[in-house]
Symmetry: C2
Protein backbone atom coordinates (compact mmCIF):
# COMPACT_ATOMS: atom_id res chain seq x y z
CA UNK A 1 0.00 0.00 0.00
CA UNK A 2 1.62 3.28 -1.08
CA UNK A 3 2.26 5.64 1.86
CA UNK A 4 -0.01 8.44 0.63
CA UNK A 5 -3.14 6.30 1.02
CA UNK A 6 -5.52 6.61 3.93
CA UNK A 7 -4.74 4.30 6.81
CA UNK A 8 -5.46 3.82 10.48
CA UNK A 9 -8.72 4.89 12.06
CA UNK A 10 -11.03 6.66 9.65
CA UNK A 11 -14.36 7.96 10.94
CA UNK A 12 -17.64 8.03 9.01
CA UNK A 13 -18.62 11.19 10.86
CA UNK A 14 -22.14 11.56 12.24
CA UNK A 15 -24.05 14.50 10.81
CA UNK A 16 -25.83 16.70 13.37
CA UNK A 17 -29.19 18.19 12.43
CA UNK A 18 -31.10 21.07 13.95
CA UNK A 19 -34.69 20.68 15.14
CA UNK A 20 -35.86 21.91 11.72
CA UNK A 21 -33.77 19.05 10.24
CA UNK A 22 -31.23 21.39 8.63
CA UNK A 23 -27.62 20.15 8.85
CA UNK A 24 -25.83 21.92 11.70
CA UNK A 25 -22.52 23.17 10.28
CA UNK A 26 -21.12 24.39 13.57
CA UNK A 27 -21.64 21.16 15.48
CA UNK A 28 -20.45 19.15 12.48
CA UNK A 29 -17.16 21.07 12.38
CA UNK A 30 -16.85 20.79 16.17
CA UNK A 31 -17.20 16.99 15.99
CA UNK A 32 -14.63 16.80 13.17
CA UNK A 33 -12.19 18.97 15.14
CA UNK A 34 -12.66 16.88 18.26
CA UNK A 35 -12.09 13.65 16.30
CA UNK A 36 -8.86 14.92 14.76
CA UNK A 37 -7.74 16.03 18.22
CA UNK A 38 -8.37 12.49 19.42
CA UNK A 39 -5.90 11.24 16.85
CA UNK A 40 -8.02 9.83 14.04
CA UNK A 41 -6.28 9.46 10.69
CA UNK A 42 -9.14 10.40 8.42
CA UNK A 43 -12.71 11.67 8.27
CA UNK A 44 -14.98 9.72 5.94
CA UNK A 45 -17.73 12.33 6.04
CA UNK A 46 -20.96 11.53 4.18
CA UNK A 47 -20.93 7.80 4.68
CA UNK A 48 -23.84 5.59 5.63
CA UNK A 49 -23.40 6.50 9.31
CA UNK A 50 -23.48 10.17 8.31
CA UNK A 51 -27.01 9.84 6.85
CA UNK A 52 -25.43 11.20 3.68
CA UNK A 53 -28.05 9.74 1.37
CA UNK A 54 -30.67 11.66 3.34
CA UNK A 55 -28.96 14.91 2.29
CA UNK A 56 -29.03 16.79 -1.00
CA UNK A 57 -25.96 17.35 -3.15
CA UNK A 58 -26.00 21.04 -2.19
CA UNK A 59 -26.17 20.31 1.53
CA UNK A 60 -23.19 17.98 1.31
CA UNK A 61 -21.13 20.51 -0.64
CA UNK A 62 -21.96 23.28 1.83
CA UNK A 63 -20.91 21.14 4.80
CA UNK A 64 -17.64 20.16 3.11
CA UNK A 65 -16.82 23.78 2.30
CA UNK A 66 -17.51 24.74 5.88
CA UNK A 67 -15.05 22.12 7.11
CA UNK A 68 -12.34 23.39 4.77
CA UNK A 69 -13.10 27.00 5.77
CA UNK A 70 -12.76 26.19 9.45
CA UNK A 71 -9.31 24.72 9.01
CA UNK A 72 -9.84 20.96 8.82
CA UNK A 73 -7.00 19.76 6.59
CA UNK A 74 -8.69 18.57 3.38
CA UNK A 75 -6.12 15.79 3.01
CA UNK A 76 -7.82 14.19 6.04
CA UNK A 77 -11.21 14.11 4.27
CA UNK A 78 -12.66 11.15 2.38
CA UNK A 79 -16.22 12.28 1.60
CA UNK A 80 -18.80 9.86 0.27
CA UNK A 81 -19.58 10.93 -3.30
CA UNK A 82 -21.30 7.91 -4.83
CA UNK A 83 -24.88 8.52 -5.98
CA UNK A 84 -27.62 6.91 -8.04
CA UNK A 85 -27.22 9.54 -10.74
CA UNK A 86 -23.94 9.97 -12.62
CA UNK A 87 -24.22 13.80 -12.71
CA UNK A 88 -24.64 13.90 -8.92
CA UNK A 89 -21.64 11.65 -8.39
CA UNK A 90 -19.59 13.75 -10.82
CA UNK A 91 -20.57 17.03 -9.11
CA UNK A 92 -19.82 15.70 -5.62
CA UNK A 93 -16.53 14.09 -6.67
CA UNK A 94 -15.27 17.09 -8.65
CA UNK A 95 -16.10 19.35 -5.74
CA UNK A 96 -14.23 17.11 -3.30
CA UNK A 97 -11.16 16.97 -5.54
CA UNK A 98 -11.14 20.76 -6.01
CA UNK A 99 -11.22 21.22 -2.24
CA UNK A 100 -8.19 18.94 -2.02
CA UNK A 101 -9.78 15.97 -0.27
CA UNK A 102 -7.41 13.05 0.21
CA UNK A 103 -9.90 10.69 -1.40
CA UNK A 104 -13.57 9.91 -1.98
CA UNK A 105 -15.63 6.93 -0.89
CA UNK A 106 -17.91 5.82 -3.71
CA UNK A 107 -21.06 3.74 -3.57
CA UNK A 108 -22.22 2.24 -6.84
CA UNK A 109 -25.61 3.48 -8.11
CA UNK A 110 -28.01 1.73 -5.77
CA UNK A 111 -31.57 2.16 -7.04
CA UNK A 112 -31.61 -0.30 -9.94
CA UNK A 113 -31.09 -3.81 -8.57
CA UNK A 114 -29.38 -6.81 -10.15
CA UNK A 115 -27.37 -4.67 -12.53
CA UNK A 116 -24.35 -6.10 -14.29
CA UNK A 117 -20.68 -5.48 -13.58
CA UNK A 118 -20.71 -3.91 -17.03
CA UNK A 119 -23.25 -1.32 -15.88
CA UNK A 120 -21.32 -0.52 -12.70
CA UNK A 121 -18.06 -0.35 -14.65
CA UNK A 122 -19.67 2.16 -17.02
CA UNK A 123 -20.83 4.22 -14.02
CA UNK A 124 -17.38 4.40 -12.39
CA UNK A 125 -15.73 5.12 -15.76
CA UNK A 126 -18.15 7.97 -16.46
CA UNK A 127 -17.46 9.54 -13.07
CA UNK A 128 -13.67 9.14 -13.22
CA UNK A 129 -13.44 10.38 -16.81
CA UNK A 130 -15.76 13.32 -16.28
CA UNK A 131 -13.95 14.42 -13.13
CA UNK A 132 -10.77 14.06 -15.17
CA UNK A 133 -8.36 15.07 -12.43
CA UNK A 134 -5.17 13.14 -11.65
CA UNK A 135 -5.58 14.01 -7.96
CA UNK A 136 -8.72 11.83 -7.73
CA UNK A 137 -8.32 8.86 -5.37
CA UNK A 138 -11.36 6.56 -5.25
CA UNK A 139 -12.14 4.19 -2.39
CA UNK A 140 -14.86 1.78 -3.53
CA UNK A 141 -17.65 1.27 -1.02
CA UNK A 142 -18.99 -2.29 -0.82
CA UNK A 143 -22.00 -2.50 1.50
CA UNK A 144 -24.40 -5.01 -0.04
CA UNK A 145 -26.78 -5.21 2.93
CA UNK A 146 -27.49 -1.49 2.66
CA UNK A 147 -26.91 -0.59 -0.97
CA UNK A 148 -28.26 -3.89 -2.34
CA UNK A 149 -25.69 -3.20 -5.05
CA UNK A 150 -22.61 -5.34 -4.42
CA UNK A 151 -19.20 -4.53 -5.91
CA UNK A 152 -17.74 -7.81 -7.16
CA UNK A 153 -14.01 -8.65 -7.06
CA UNK A 154 -14.17 -8.93 -10.86
CA UNK A 155 -15.36 -5.32 -11.05
CA UNK A 156 -12.59 -4.18 -8.70
CA UNK A 157 -10.02 -5.94 -10.88
CA UNK A 158 -11.39 -4.35 -14.02
CA UNK A 159 -11.37 -0.87 -12.49
CA UNK A 160 -7.84 -1.38 -11.18
CA UNK A 161 -6.64 -2.35 -14.64
CA UNK A 162 -8.21 0.72 -16.22
CA UNK A 163 -7.42 3.22 -13.44
CA UNK A 164 -4.52 1.91 -11.35
CA UNK A 165 -3.70 5.43 -10.09
CA UNK A 166 -7.27 6.48 -9.26
CA UNK A 167 -8.89 3.35 -7.80
CA UNK A 168 -6.73 2.91 -4.72
CA UNK A 169 -8.87 1.48 -1.94
CA UNK A 170 -12.02 -0.28 -0.81
CA UNK A 171 -14.21 -0.22 2.26
CA UNK A 172 -15.79 -3.62 2.82
CA UNK A 173 -18.88 -3.29 5.01
CA UNK A 174 -20.21 -6.70 4.04
CA UNK A 175 -19.24 -8.23 7.37
CA UNK A 176 -18.04 -11.25 5.39
CA UNK A 177 -14.54 -11.52 6.81
CA UNK A 178 -13.41 -14.33 4.53
CA UNK A 179 -14.35 -12.18 1.54
CA UNK A 180 -12.47 -9.19 2.99
CA UNK A 181 -9.38 -11.33 3.39
CA UNK A 182 -9.67 -12.53 -0.20
CA UNK A 183 -9.86 -8.91 -1.37
CA UNK A 184 -6.70 -8.13 0.60
CA UNK A 185 -4.91 -11.09 -0.99
CA UNK A 186 -6.12 -10.30 -4.50
CA UNK A 187 -5.42 -6.55 -4.37
CA UNK A 188 -2.25 -6.12 -2.31
CA UNK A 189 -1.68 -2.57 -3.59
CA UNK A 190 -5.10 -1.34 -2.50
CA UNK A 191 -5.95 0.07 0.91
CA UNK A 192 -8.57 -2.37 2.23
CA UNK A 193 -10.69 -1.22 5.16
CA UNK A 194 -13.05 -3.44 7.13
CA UNK A 195 -15.94 -1.58 8.73
CA UNK A 196 -15.35 -2.62 12.33
CA UNK A 197 -12.56 -2.21 14.85
CA UNK A 198 -13.16 -5.81 15.92
CA UNK A 199 -11.33 -6.82 12.70
CA UNK A 200 -8.37 -4.51 13.22
CA UNK A 201 -6.13 -6.99 15.04
CA UNK A 202 -6.17 -9.62 12.33
CA UNK A 203 -6.58 -7.03 9.58
CA UNK A 204 -3.41 -5.15 10.51
CA UNK A 205 -1.48 -8.42 10.62
CA UNK A 206 -2.71 -9.17 7.10
CA UNK A 207 -1.67 -5.75 5.85
CA UNK A 208 -5.08 -4.12 5.74
CA UNK A 209 -5.10 -0.33 5.98
CA UNK A 210 -7.03 0.13 9.22
CA UNK A 211 -10.78 0.47 9.66
CA UNK A 212 -13.55 2.84 8.65
CA UNK A 213 -15.90 2.25 11.54
CA UNK A 214 -19.12 3.93 12.68
CA UNK A 215 -18.17 3.41 16.30
CA UNK A 216 -14.96 5.39 15.78
CA UNK A 217 -17.27 8.38 16.34
CA UNK A 218 -17.42 7.53 20.03
CA UNK A 219 -14.11 5.78 20.77
CA UNK A 220 -11.63 7.41 18.39
CA UNK A 221 -8.73 7.68 20.81
CA UNK A 222 -9.13 4.12 22.07
CA UNK A 223 -9.02 2.73 18.53
CA UNK A 224 -6.01 4.87 17.68
CA UNK A 225 -4.25 3.67 20.84
CA UNK A 226 -4.93 0.06 19.88
CA UNK A 227 -3.47 0.61 16.41
CA UNK A 228 -0.40 2.33 17.85
CA UNK A 229 0.07 -0.53 20.32
CA UNK A 230 -0.32 -3.27 17.73
CA UNK A 231 2.40 -5.83 18.19
CA UNK A 232 3.13 -4.76 21.76
CA UNK A 233 2.06 -6.43 25.04
CA UNK A 234 -0.58 -3.72 25.60
CA UNK A 235 -2.51 -4.57 22.47
CA UNK A 236 -4.61 -7.44 23.76
CA UNK A 237 -6.27 -5.45 26.54
CA UNK A 238 -6.90 -2.46 24.28
CA UNK A 239 -8.38 -4.74 21.64
CA UNK A 240 -10.72 -6.30 24.14
CA UNK A 241 -11.75 -2.85 25.30
CA UNK A 242 -12.69 -1.45 21.86
CA UNK A 243 -14.29 -4.72 20.75
CA UNK A 244 -16.54 -4.78 23.81
CA UNK A 245 -17.84 -1.29 23.09
CA UNK A 246 -18.40 -2.11 19.44
CA UNK A 247 -20.26 -5.31 20.28
CA UNK A 248 -22.60 -3.51 22.65
CA UNK A 249 -23.37 -0.83 20.04
CA UNK A 250 -24.10 -3.49 17.41
CA UNK A 251 -27.09 -4.69 19.43
CA UNK A 252 -28.80 -1.40 18.50
CA UNK A 253 -29.45 0.44 15.23
CA UNK A 254 -26.07 2.11 14.89
CA UNK A 255 -26.86 5.64 13.75
CA UNK A 256 -29.51 6.48 16.37
CA UNK A 257 -27.54 4.64 19.06
CA UNK A 258 -24.40 6.66 18.37
CA UNK A 259 -26.41 9.87 18.31
CA UNK A 260 -28.13 8.98 21.59
CA UNK A 261 -24.71 8.46 23.12
CA UNK A 262 -23.40 11.81 21.91
CA UNK A 263 -26.55 13.47 23.27
CA UNK A 264 -25.99 11.91 26.68
CA UNK A 265 -22.25 12.58 26.83
CA UNK A 266 -22.44 16.19 25.65
CA UNK A 267 -25.64 16.99 27.50
CA UNK A 268 -26.99 18.38 24.22
CA UNK A 269 -30.16 16.47 23.34
CA UNK A 270 -30.20 17.85 19.82
CA UNK A 271 -27.39 15.43 18.97
CA UNK A 272 -30.06 12.71 18.97
CA UNK A 273 -31.89 14.23 16.00
CA UNK A 274 -31.98 12.08 12.85
CA UNK A 275 -33.41 12.68 9.43
CA UNK A 276 -36.21 10.46 8.12
CA UNK A 277 -36.29 7.59 7.42
CA UNK A 278 -33.92 6.99 10.36
CA UNK A 279 -35.70 7.48 13.68
CA UNK A 280 -34.29 8.31 17.08
CA UNK A 281 -33.60 5.53 19.54
CA UNK A 282 -36.63 5.07 21.83
CA UNK A 283 -35.93 6.18 25.42
CA UNK A 284 -36.02 2.65 26.84
CA UNK A 285 -33.54 1.35 24.27
CA UNK A 286 -31.29 4.35 24.86
CA UNK A 287 -31.37 3.72 28.61
CA UNK A 288 -30.50 0.05 28.07
CA UNK A 289 -27.60 0.97 25.78
CA UNK A 290 -26.21 3.42 28.31
CA UNK A 291 -26.53 0.88 31.11
CA UNK A 292 -24.73 -1.76 29.06
CA UNK A 293 -21.88 0.60 28.21
CA UNK A 294 -21.50 1.86 31.77
CA UNK A 295 -21.53 -1.70 33.10
CA UNK A 296 -18.83 -2.79 30.63
CA UNK A 297 -16.19 -0.53 32.20
CA UNK A 298 -14.82 -0.14 28.66
CA UNK A 299 -16.57 3.02 27.60
CA UNK A 300 -15.13 6.45 28.13
CA UNK A 301 -17.71 9.22 27.58
CA UNK A 302 -17.18 11.43 24.56
CA UNK A 303 -15.35 14.58 25.59
CA UNK A 304 -16.74 16.74 22.81
CA UNK A 305 -17.57 20.12 24.36
CA UNK A 306 -21.18 21.27 24.24
CA UNK A 307 -21.39 24.27 21.90
CA UNK B 1 -62.55 6.87 -6.47
CA UNK B 2 -63.19 10.60 -6.99
CA UNK B 3 -63.39 11.55 -10.68
CA UNK B 4 -60.44 13.95 -10.62
CA UNK B 5 -57.99 11.15 -9.91
CA UNK B 6 -55.77 9.62 -12.55
CA UNK B 7 -57.26 6.59 -14.25
CA UNK B 8 -56.89 4.44 -17.33
CA UNK B 9 -53.54 3.92 -19.02
CA UNK B 10 -50.74 5.89 -17.44
CA UNK B 11 -47.26 5.64 -18.96
CA UNK B 12 -43.96 5.69 -17.06
CA UNK B 13 -42.34 7.43 -20.01
CA UNK B 14 -38.91 6.30 -21.22
CA UNK B 15 -36.25 9.01 -21.06
CA UNK B 16 -34.12 9.41 -24.20
CA UNK B 17 -30.45 10.26 -23.78
CA UNK B 18 -27.96 11.66 -26.28
CA UNK B 19 -24.66 9.92 -26.98
CA UNK B 20 -23.04 12.15 -24.34
CA UNK B 21 -25.70 10.79 -21.92
CA UNK B 22 -27.48 14.15 -21.58
CA UNK B 23 -31.29 13.85 -21.45
CA UNK B 24 -32.74 14.66 -24.87
CA UNK B 25 -35.56 17.17 -24.30
CA UNK B 26 -36.79 17.20 -27.87
CA UNK B 27 -37.18 13.45 -28.22
CA UNK B 28 -38.67 13.25 -24.72
CA UNK B 29 -41.38 15.79 -25.61
CA UNK B 30 -41.96 14.04 -28.94
CA UNK B 31 -42.56 10.73 -27.17
CA UNK B 32 -44.93 12.36 -24.68
CA UNK B 33 -46.86 14.06 -27.51
CA UNK B 34 -47.10 10.80 -29.44
CA UNK B 35 -48.34 8.95 -26.34
CA UNK B 36 -51.07 11.50 -25.65
CA UNK B 37 -52.06 11.32 -29.31
CA UNK B 38 -52.41 7.56 -28.90
CA UNK B 39 -54.96 8.15 -26.17
CA UNK B 40 -53.10 7.58 -22.92
CA UNK B 41 -54.70 9.08 -19.82
CA UNK B 42 -51.56 10.14 -17.99
CA UNK B 43 -47.79 10.43 -18.19
CA UNK B 44 -45.94 9.12 -15.13
CA UNK B 45 -42.65 10.68 -16.19
CA UNK B 46 -39.62 9.95 -13.98
CA UNK B 47 -40.61 6.49 -12.88
CA UNK B 48 -38.40 3.43 -12.65
CA UNK B 49 -38.81 2.81 -16.39
CA UNK B 50 -37.75 6.42 -17.01
CA UNK B 51 -34.34 5.85 -15.36
CA UNK B 52 -35.35 8.77 -13.14
CA UNK B 53 -33.06 7.81 -10.29
CA UNK B 54 -30.16 8.01 -12.73
CA UNK B 55 -30.94 11.71 -13.24
CA UNK B 56 -30.22 14.70 -11.03
CA UNK B 57 -32.93 16.87 -9.49
CA UNK B 58 -32.02 19.67 -11.90
CA UNK B 59 -32.25 17.44 -14.96
CA UNK B 60 -35.69 16.23 -13.95
CA UNK B 61 -36.94 19.77 -13.35
CA UNK B 62 -35.59 20.95 -16.72
CA UNK B 63 -37.31 18.10 -18.57
CA UNK B 64 -40.62 18.77 -16.80
CA UNK B 65 -40.47 22.48 -17.62
CA UNK B 66 -39.75 21.64 -21.25
CA UNK B 67 -42.85 19.44 -21.40
CA UNK B 68 -45.02 22.21 -19.96
CA UNK B 69 -43.46 24.76 -22.34
CA UNK B 70 -44.19 22.59 -25.36
CA UNK B 71 -47.87 22.34 -24.54
CA UNK B 72 -48.27 19.01 -22.74
CA UNK B 73 -51.18 19.60 -20.37
CA UNK B 74 -49.69 19.50 -16.87
CA UNK B 75 -52.84 17.84 -15.52
CA UNK B 76 -51.75 14.77 -17.50
CA UNK B 77 -48.41 14.60 -15.66
CA UNK B 78 -47.64 12.44 -12.63
CA UNK B 79 -43.88 12.87 -12.22
CA UNK B 80 -41.91 10.67 -9.85
CA UNK B 81 -40.69 12.91 -7.03
CA UNK B 82 -39.69 10.48 -4.28
CA UNK B 83 -36.02 10.61 -3.30
CA UNK B 84 -33.65 9.39 -0.61
CA UNK B 85 -33.24 12.92 0.72
CA UNK B 86 -36.20 14.88 2.07
CA UNK B 87 -34.97 18.19 0.57
CA UNK B 88 -34.74 16.60 -2.90
CA UNK B 89 -38.25 15.15 -2.59
CA UNK B 90 -39.56 18.52 -1.38
CA UNK B 91 -37.90 20.42 -4.24
CA UNK B 92 -39.14 17.98 -6.89
CA UNK B 93 -42.66 17.83 -5.46
CA UNK B 94 -43.03 21.61 -4.99
CA UNK B 95 -41.81 22.15 -8.53
CA UNK B 96 -44.32 19.64 -9.90
CA UNK B 97 -47.20 21.22 -7.98
CA UNK B 98 -46.24 24.72 -9.15
CA UNK B 99 -46.26 23.54 -12.75
CA UNK B 100 -49.77 22.20 -12.17
CA UNK B 101 -49.08 18.48 -12.42
CA UNK B 102 -52.12 16.33 -11.77
CA UNK B 103 -50.22 14.31 -9.17
CA UNK B 104 -46.83 12.97 -8.13
CA UNK B 105 -45.63 9.39 -7.74
CA UNK B 106 -43.56 9.03 -4.59
CA UNK B 107 -41.04 6.37 -3.69
CA UNK B 108 -40.10 6.13 -0.04
CA UNK B 109 -36.44 6.91 0.78
CA UNK B 110 -34.70 3.79 -0.46
CA UNK B 111 -31.08 3.81 0.70
CA UNK B 112 -31.48 2.87 4.35
CA UNK B 113 -32.95 -0.64 4.57
CA UNK B 114 -35.26 -2.16 7.16
CA UNK B 115 -36.53 1.21 8.31
CA UNK B 116 -39.71 1.45 10.34
CA UNK B 117 -43.15 2.60 9.22
CA UNK B 118 -42.53 5.40 11.71
CA UNK B 119 -39.49 6.56 9.70
CA UNK B 120 -41.34 6.40 6.39
CA UNK B 121 -44.34 8.18 7.89
CA UNK B 122 -42.02 10.96 9.08
CA UNK B 123 -40.56 11.23 5.58
CA UNK B 124 -43.94 11.56 3.84
CA UNK B 125 -45.17 14.01 6.49
CA UNK B 126 -42.07 16.19 6.06
CA UNK B 127 -42.55 16.31 2.30
CA UNK B 128 -46.30 16.97 2.39
CA UNK B 129 -46.02 19.62 5.12
CA UNK B 130 -43.07 21.40 3.54
CA UNK B 131 -44.71 21.48 0.11
CA UNK B 132 -47.76 22.82 1.95
CA UNK B 133 -50.00 23.15 -1.11
CA UNK B 134 -53.61 21.92 -1.17
CA UNK B 135 -53.20 21.02 -4.86
CA UNK B 136 -50.73 18.26 -3.99
CA UNK B 137 -51.97 14.76 -4.91
CA UNK B 138 -49.62 11.96 -3.88
CA UNK B 139 -49.60 8.50 -5.44
CA UNK B 140 -47.53 6.19 -3.25
CA UNK B 141 -45.10 4.01 -5.15
CA UNK B 142 -44.69 0.48 -3.77
CA UNK B 143 -41.97 -1.43 -5.62
CA UNK B 144 -40.20 -3.57 -3.03
CA UNK B 145 -38.11 -5.60 -5.52
CA UNK B 146 -36.49 -2.40 -6.80
CA UNK B 147 -36.61 0.04 -3.91
CA UNK B 148 -36.04 -2.60 -1.21
CA UNK B 149 -38.21 -0.22 0.81
CA UNK B 150 -41.76 -1.59 0.98
CA UNK B 151 -44.77 0.59 1.80
CA UNK B 152 -46.94 -1.37 4.23
CA UNK B 153 -50.75 -1.23 4.28
CA UNK B 154 -50.46 0.08 7.85
CA UNK B 155 -48.40 3.01 6.58
CA UNK B 156 -50.91 3.71 3.81
CA UNK B 157 -53.72 3.74 6.38
CA UNK B 158 -51.81 6.09 8.66
CA UNK B 159 -51.07 8.50 5.80
CA UNK B 160 -54.68 8.40 4.62
CA UNK B 161 -55.88 9.30 8.10
CA UNK B 162 -53.49 12.25 8.35
CA UNK B 163 -53.79 13.46 4.73
CA UNK B 164 -57.05 12.17 3.21
CA UNK B 165 -57.04 14.90 0.55
CA UNK B 166 -53.39 14.59 -0.43
CA UNK B 167 -52.67 10.85 -0.37
CA UNK B 168 -55.01 9.71 -3.10
CA UNK B 169 -53.48 6.76 -4.90
CA UNK B 170 -50.93 3.97 -5.02
CA UNK B 171 -48.97 2.17 -7.69
CA UNK B 172 -48.34 -1.42 -6.68
CA UNK B 173 -45.39 -2.81 -8.64
CA UNK B 174 -44.90 -5.72 -6.27
CA UNK B 175 -46.41 -8.20 -8.69
CA UNK B 176 -48.22 -9.71 -5.70
CA UNK B 177 -51.74 -9.67 -7.07
CA UNK B 178 -53.40 -10.89 -3.88
CA UNK B 179 -51.78 -7.99 -2.03
CA UNK B 180 -52.93 -5.52 -4.69
CA UNK B 181 -56.50 -6.79 -4.33
CA UNK B 182 -56.30 -6.40 -0.56
CA UNK B 183 -55.17 -2.79 -1.00
CA UNK B 184 -58.12 -2.16 -3.29
CA UNK B 185 -60.51 -3.61 -0.71
CA UNK B 186 -58.93 -1.76 2.20
CA UNK B 187 -58.69 1.63 0.48
CA UNK B 188 -61.75 1.93 -1.75
CA UNK B 189 -61.36 5.70 -2.10
CA UNK B 190 -57.81 5.46 -3.42
CA UNK B 191 -56.81 5.06 -7.05
CA UNK B 192 -54.96 1.74 -7.08
CA UNK B 193 -52.79 0.98 -10.10
CA UNK B 194 -51.18 -2.39 -10.81
CA UNK B 195 -48.01 -2.16 -12.90
CA UNK B 196 -49.03 -4.41 -15.75
CA UNK B 197 -51.78 -4.40 -18.36
CA UNK B 198 -52.14 -8.15 -17.78
CA UNK B 199 -54.00 -7.23 -14.56
CA UNK B 200 -56.32 -4.70 -16.16
CA UNK B 201 -59.19 -7.04 -16.89
CA UNK B 202 -59.66 -8.23 -13.34
CA UNK B 203 -58.48 -4.92 -11.91
CA UNK B 204 -61.11 -2.87 -13.71
CA UNK B 205 -63.80 -5.29 -12.56
CA UNK B 206 -62.60 -4.77 -8.99
CA UNK B 207 -62.68 -1.01 -9.34
CA UNK B 208 -58.97 -0.39 -9.73
CA UNK B 209 -58.01 2.80 -11.51
CA UNK B 210 -56.22 1.35 -14.55
CA UNK B 211 -52.53 0.54 -14.88
CA UNK B 212 -49.20 2.34 -14.80
CA UNK B 213 -47.25 0.03 -17.05
CA UNK B 214 -43.78 0.22 -18.58
CA UNK B 215 -45.03 -1.52 -21.72
CA UNK B 216 -47.60 1.23 -22.25
CA UNK B 217 -44.65 3.03 -23.88
CA UNK B 218 -44.92 0.71 -26.86
CA UNK B 219 -48.60 -0.31 -26.99
CA UNK B 220 -50.46 2.74 -25.65
CA UNK B 221 -53.34 2.69 -28.12
CA UNK B 222 -53.92 -1.06 -27.75
CA UNK B 223 -54.17 -0.76 -23.96
CA UNK B 224 -56.50 2.22 -24.26
CA UNK B 225 -58.69 0.28 -26.74
CA UNK B 226 -58.87 -2.63 -24.32
CA UNK B 227 -59.95 -0.33 -21.47
CA UNK B 228 -62.57 1.34 -23.66
CA UNK B 229 -63.88 -2.07 -24.76
CA UNK B 230 -64.03 -3.48 -21.24
CA UNK B 231 -67.33 -5.24 -20.70
CA UNK B 232 -67.98 -5.61 -24.43
CA UNK B 233 -67.53 -8.72 -26.62
CA UNK B 234 -64.34 -7.24 -28.14
CA UNK B 235 -62.51 -7.13 -24.85
CA UNK B 236 -61.27 -10.72 -24.69
CA UNK B 237 -59.34 -10.56 -27.96
CA UNK B 238 -57.84 -7.16 -27.12
CA UNK B 239 -56.83 -8.41 -23.68
CA UNK B 240 -55.08 -11.41 -25.18
CA UNK B 241 -53.30 -9.13 -27.62
CA UNK B 242 -51.86 -6.71 -25.03
CA UNK B 243 -51.07 -9.50 -22.57
CA UNK B 244 -49.08 -11.40 -25.20
CA UNK B 245 -46.91 -8.37 -25.93
CA UNK B 246 -46.37 -7.70 -22.23
CA UNK B 247 -45.41 -11.30 -21.55
CA UNK B 248 -42.82 -11.31 -24.32
CA UNK B 249 -41.26 -8.08 -23.03
CA UNK B 250 -41.07 -9.48 -19.50
CA UNK B 251 -38.61 -12.12 -20.68
CA UNK B 252 -36.06 -9.30 -21.11
CA UNK B 253 -34.81 -6.49 -18.87
CA UNK B 254 -37.65 -4.03 -19.47
CA UNK B 255 -35.93 -0.68 -19.86
CA UNK B 256 -33.30 -1.69 -22.44
CA UNK B 257 -35.82 -3.95 -24.21
CA UNK B 258 -38.31 -1.09 -24.61
CA UNK B 259 -35.56 1.22 -25.79
CA UNK B 260 -34.31 -1.36 -28.30
CA UNK B 261 -37.83 -1.59 -29.65
CA UNK B 262 -38.17 2.17 -30.02
CA UNK B 263 -34.79 2.26 -31.78
CA UNK B 264 -35.92 -0.38 -34.27
CA UNK B 265 -39.38 1.06 -34.87
CA UNK B 266 -38.23 4.67 -35.30
CA UNK B 267 -35.03 3.81 -37.16
CA UNK B 268 -33.20 6.05 -34.67
CA UNK B 269 -30.57 3.95 -32.92
CA UNK B 270 -29.99 6.63 -30.28
CA UNK B 271 -33.26 5.55 -28.66
CA UNK B 272 -31.36 2.52 -27.37
CA UNK B 273 -29.04 4.64 -25.22
CA UNK B 274 -29.32 4.06 -21.46
CA UNK B 275 -27.58 5.66 -18.52
CA UNK B 276 -25.37 3.57 -16.25
CA UNK B 277 -25.97 1.33 -14.41
CA UNK B 278 -28.56 0.17 -16.96
CA UNK B 279 -26.91 -1.24 -20.07
CA UNK B 280 -28.25 -1.59 -23.58
CA UNK B 281 -29.76 -4.88 -24.68
CA UNK B 282 -27.08 -6.99 -26.41
CA UNK B 283 -27.66 -7.35 -30.14
CA UNK B 284 -28.53 -11.04 -29.96
CA UNK B 285 -31.12 -10.49 -27.21
CA UNK B 286 -32.59 -7.55 -29.13
CA UNK B 287 -32.88 -9.70 -32.27
CA UNK B 288 -34.60 -12.45 -30.28
CA UNK B 289 -37.06 -9.98 -28.76
CA UNK B 290 -37.93 -8.53 -32.16
CA UNK B 291 -38.42 -12.01 -33.61
CA UNK B 292 -40.70 -13.01 -30.74
CA UNK B 293 -42.81 -9.89 -31.11
CA UNK B 294 -43.07 -10.17 -34.89
CA UNK B 295 -44.01 -13.84 -34.61
CA UNK B 296 -46.74 -13.09 -32.06
CA UNK B 297 -48.81 -11.11 -34.58
CA UNK B 298 -49.85 -8.96 -31.63
CA UNK B 299 -47.30 -6.18 -31.88
CA UNK B 300 -47.86 -3.04 -33.90
CA UNK B 301 -44.64 -1.04 -34.39
CA UNK B 302 -44.45 2.27 -32.60
CA UNK B 303 -45.49 5.05 -34.98
CA UNK B 304 -43.43 7.76 -33.28
CA UNK B 305 -41.87 9.85 -36.05
CA UNK B 306 -38.09 9.98 -36.23
CA UNK B 307 -37.00 13.54 -35.37
Amino acid sequence: MPPEHFHGVVVPVLTPFRRNLEPDKQRFAALCRWLTGEGVNGLAVFGTTSEANSMSVGERMALLEHLADTGIGPELLMPGTGACAVPDAVDLTSHAVKIGCGGVLMLPPFYYKNQSDEGFFAYFCEVIERVGDPRLKVYLYHFPQMSAAPISPALVARLRRRYPDAVVGLKDSSGDWEATKRLRAEFPEMAIFPSSETRLDEGLRLGMAGCISATANIQPRAIRKFIDSHGTPDAAALNQHISTVRTILERHPLVPALKALLARDTGDQDWAITRPPITQLPADAAARLLDELDASDCYEPVGLPNL
